[in-house]
Symmetry: C2
DNA sequence: ATGTTTCGTTAGTGGGACGAACGTTAGTGT
DNA sequence: ACACTAACGTTCGTCCCACTAACGAAACAT
């Protein structure tokens, strides 16, 4: 499975090793894989989690709004909702007030599943960020958030 | 061009907004795009930079070693070297000592090009990480490095 | 000699982010 | 009342990336 490759040794040139964008890329790739593999064991993907948590926390909403809140590209929302609806975790119903919209609602089983995913994700992230303590994780979150807010408004 | 989407508003549920892996993913995606677009203006890709900087800093080496040091997947090295060699930025020659190997060497124009890419990349990263000062960038690098070293040995 | 490993290479897969276009429906201006 | 514009859901397709599978050639191990 694991190729045991180097990638991070001293064998990597310094100019390369310290490029923040490169580190960001590699860390993201590896964390994403951990998350994907982990969630796959619960037959889920990260977008499933994003949708379920959004619905649970904010309430029923249209697909377009889901796209905006979760960051899922609007073309891709359809498939995600299809998958979730196919498993009975959400319900898709036409909005009587605006017939362009579908109202997506989380179901009972959906809420249960969300709790499992929440636990699972916490475990996964705990392993992914193992070498970082509480404050350091908060620091990381803060730094990344600032980068992102800047780029969005940029 | 820019869709002006939200993605980072308060409209994002808290449980989602504070997930480090999610932030990592989004930051990486956006930074990668900045880097790719930026380097594209110099008709280059980030792997070009990785290869050139490695050759310049360490010296000629085989493609396999290049793969190990840069993190480029071994199947993909071929294409990268093709592109670089096609532009005369590196030279690919059979290794007389081991006829399985190719020895890749950076050329004069390759070194020039590397300098341009170095400057360009600094500019790009400066913009990508604009909201972070020196220490904070160092902090970010340190945190990410620790995550990565842990995962590689994990 | 034989089997194993390394190297370079080709072709192909799967996923994720994104773009283009379309029919449908809601608002908006006049 | 009517044309125009914008939003919504949807489908299809594109591009890039990390990765796999398989292969011939060469080196190495025993």
């Amino acid at each position: 499975m694991n190729t045991g490759d180097a990638h991070m040794d001293e064998s990597v040139p310094a100019r390369l090793r310290n490029r923040p964008t490169r580190l960001l890329s590699m860390a993201s790739t590896r964390c994403d894989r951990l998350v994907n593999d982990g969630l796959a064991r619960a037959d889920a993907r990260k977008w499933h989690y994003a949708v379920l948590v959004t619905l649970a926390e904010i309430g029923p909403m249209s697909q377009a709004e889901l796209s905006r809140r979760t960051g899922i590209y609007h073309s891709d929302v359809v498939a995600v909702i299809n998958e979730l609806a196919g498993r009975g975790l959400v319900e898709r119903a036409p909005d009587p007030a605006d017939r362009r919209r579908n109202v997506i609602t989380i179901t009972g089983p959906g809420t249960d599943h969300l709790h499992r995913l929440d636990d699972l994700l916490s475990t996964i992230e705990d392993e992914a960020l193992a070498p970082l303590n509480r404050e350091e994780r908060a620091q990381l979150v803060e730094l990344l958030t600032r980068i992102l807010t800047h780029q969005v408004r940029g």
